[in-house]
């Protein structure tokens, strides 16, 4: 059985017609690779909409993944109605981010996309009220150690993840889009104020298309965890394709990147998505985002690191290069998130905790 590499997966997703000639074993390799990249839903969506003929076994897997996606979308809608009920009395805008925003607004990116957590963004000054209302509605903080609580509350851009006690769903409550300690300090008020209302959900908002795009890029470049890296790039690709249907989309992206003080990551993110999956970015838009100082082109080594690191899990797990690239990006992301002294303390604390956790675990397993 031949493996399918990440590059072939990207190519099959861009032009699903290629798969029409695939044998059964090629189909299973393609689906395995897509599954490892968390892109099986998108693959299913694309080969099904292009009406590509396939063996019954492949259809069974792909249709089951689409069915799971529909079920997840339904669950998210249910949770969002719950959030509407829980938070409406506060009379504040509750902005959905990422997967929940795509699903609830019926964005094309949501088609075939599987997701885990629900992310919301609320004004920082009402964070305390939001947390209490959510606790009353059955959401409990999942991080219990005092250090974790402090880490999130003092330094991060979100509360510690909250878990619904009945359904086990996870909610991330953000008050801005980057850690408070990071180099860039975007003011999330711009995103919240411009966000659009949804029919039947008066408290709930969805960010403007340019903000969805920018947030997706910033999330990919600052998160440091790249297990879903390729999926995130396909999100970005879908967001900019759908966004570009509005004629003033690119000027708005440029404006928003400047207003949020995020031109550098947006510039690099657009360059990356062009490099990895060939998304079309208008040259004037790239030029307008180019950092004024120094570098005319995006860093080649950083591009190379990301190209290695976003390979699907199946490949990355067996590649030293990908592992090293992921580590480098993890360190870089933390470097961007925190000033050096804080980073040193945080990493020291985390490794101490890991040592302590491992000792009894190793005993218990032996």
């Amino acid at each position: 059985m031949n493996g399918i590499r990440g590059a072939q997966l990207v190519s099959a997703l861009k032009s699903p017609n290629q798969a029409a000639q695939f044998t059964s074993s090629q189909w299973s390799a393609l689906i395995a690779c897509a599954r490892a990249a968390n892109l099986a839903g998108l693959l299913a969506e694309r080969v099904r909409s292009a009406a590509i003929p396939m063996p019954a076994d492949a259809a069974r897997h792909l249709d089951a993944i689409l069915q799971l996606g529909r079920r997840q979308t339904q669950s998210v809608l249910w949770e969002v109605h719950g959030l509407q009920r829980a938070l409406a009395p506060l009379n504040i805008p509750v902005v959905l981010l990422k997967g929940a925003a795509y699903a609830v607004s019926g964005h094309p990116v949501s088609r075939g996309r599987l997701f885990g957590d629900i992310d919301i963004l609320v004004p920082r000054e009402v964070l305390g009220d939001v947390e209490i209302r959510l606790m009353v509605a059955g959401w409990m903080s999942a991080k219990s150690t005092p250090y974790d609580q402090r880490y999130y509350r003092t330094w991060m851009h979100e509360l510690p993840p909250m878990v619904n006690v009945r359904r086990g769903t996870v909610l991330d409550v953000h008050h801005t889009i980057l850690p408070l300690t990071s180099r860039h300090r975007p003011d999330a008020r711009h995103i919240i104020e411009a966000a659009q209302a949804l029919p039947g959900l008066p408290a709930i908002r969805v960010p403007r298309p340019e903000h969805l795009l920018i947030h997706s890029i910033v999330h990919l470049l600052h998160e440091g965890e790249l297990h879903n890296g390729l999926r995130d790039l396909f999100d970005i690709d879908g967001l900019l394709r759908a966004g570009a249907l509005e004629t003033d989309f690119w000027p708005r992206v440029i404006d928003a990147a400047h207003t949020l003080d995020l031109t550098a990551p947006v510039f690099f993110g657009l360059h990356l998505v062009h490099q990895v999956i060939g998304s079309e970015i208008p040259a004037p838009a790239l030029a307008a985002l180019q950092p004024a100082s120094g570098a005319q082109r995006p860093s080649r080594s950083l591009t190379w690191l990301y190209r290695q690191a976003v390979r699907p899990e199946s490949e990355a797990a067996e590649s030293l290069l990908a592992t090293a690239a992921r580590l480098a990006i993890y360190v870089r992301a933390h470097w961007l998130r925190m000033p050096p002294h804080l980073l040193a303390c945080h990493l020291a604390h985390k490794s101490m905790m890991r040592l302590k956790k491992n000792e009894p675990a190793a005993e218990g397993r032996a």
Binding site: A29, A36, A64, Q67
Partner: protein
């Protein structure tokens, strides 16, 4: 399926219990539903206290087990694969046997004795084994899919089942997390008929209760629904499709609660219920 392992116990297990699958798998270049590896642990532990890890693709979903349990680890792991990977089927915990196209489903509460009863129906009464562990329902046809794999027997039930006619047991694995376990090979007739789906006609919730008078109570479909739903691995992920499939499965079924203190008593009750 693709299975790779350095453990000879795993290949012996496959040769004993899956002869047809091995033969057909070597011929074609087929679609791979599950790419499984049972591998050795890394590092010093490999020599001091050898362990077996179950891997599905690059995922390692379980804690490793001692190396001498590599074969049972494969069976548990494959159950997990069938229950967790989206395949479009509603998967529940329960034994299924059939006579012609009519299936008897026995949802499993741990320790209720369903594996022993399932083995008795298969070997003593001649029912066709669909599965002793997984009830797999196809929402497209509302039919149950066979998965005739070795019956997993625990502790005292091993000796009981060993006395049934035509039973061939594999090795005994001591000190597993479920106690001593052993596998009974499914009858050849059940393996050969693995492509024949069956419709659920009876649902029986078996309960072995030592020194208690036997009882058999017909229960409502609604009650059976609630109790089976608890035993489903993926009902939530299957959403409305799963809900409708389970309703459709029960539409044509009679449901019973039975209690017994001997396998013979249970078989008599099943005969009365099914007329078989």
């Amino acid at each position: 399926m693709r299975i790779r392992s350095p453990f000879s116990a795993v290949s012996a297990h496959l040769e004993t219990f899956y002869p047809d699958a091995l033969a057909s798998g070597r011929r074609a270049e087929p679609f791979t539903d599950f790419d499984i590896r049972i591998i050795r642990g890394a590092g010093l532990r490999r020599w001091l206290r050898p362990q077996a890890h179950f891997m599905l693709d690059h995922i390692d979903p379980f804690l490793p087990l001692p190396a001498d349990q590599a074969a049972p680890l494969f069976e548990w792991g494959l159950n997990w694969c069938l229950a967790s990977r989206p395949l479009g089927y509603l998967v529940m915990h329960g034994a299924v046997v059939a006579s012609d196209g009519d299936a008897l489903v026995m949802p499993g509460f741990p320790g209720a004795g369903k594996s022993t009863l399932c083995a008795a129906l298969t070997f003593v009464e001649g029912w066709r084994l669909l599965s002793d562990e997984l009830t797999i329902l196809d929402p497209e046809s509302d039919k149950l899919l066979p998965n005739p794999r070795p019956i997993s027997l625990k502790n005292e039930s091993i000796d009981i089942v060993a006395r049934f006619p035509g039973v061939s047991l594999g090795p005994r694995y001591e000190d597993t997390r479920k106690g001593t376990i052993s596998h009974a090979a499914p009858p050849a007739a059940s393996r050969i008929a693995a492509a024949q789906h069956a419709r659920c006609r009876w649902v029986v919730f078996p309960r072995f209760i030592a020194s208690s008078p036997p009882f058999c109570d017909e229960i409502s479909r609604a009650e059976a629904f609630a109790r089976i739903a608890e035993q489903s691995f993926n009902r939530d992920r299957m959403g409305e499709t799963g809900f409708r499939a389970l309703c459709a499965m029960l539409d044509g079924a009679h449901c019973f609660d039975i209690g017994y203190d001997s396998t013979d008593a249970a078989l008599t009750m099943v005969r009365d219920i099914t007329g078989q």
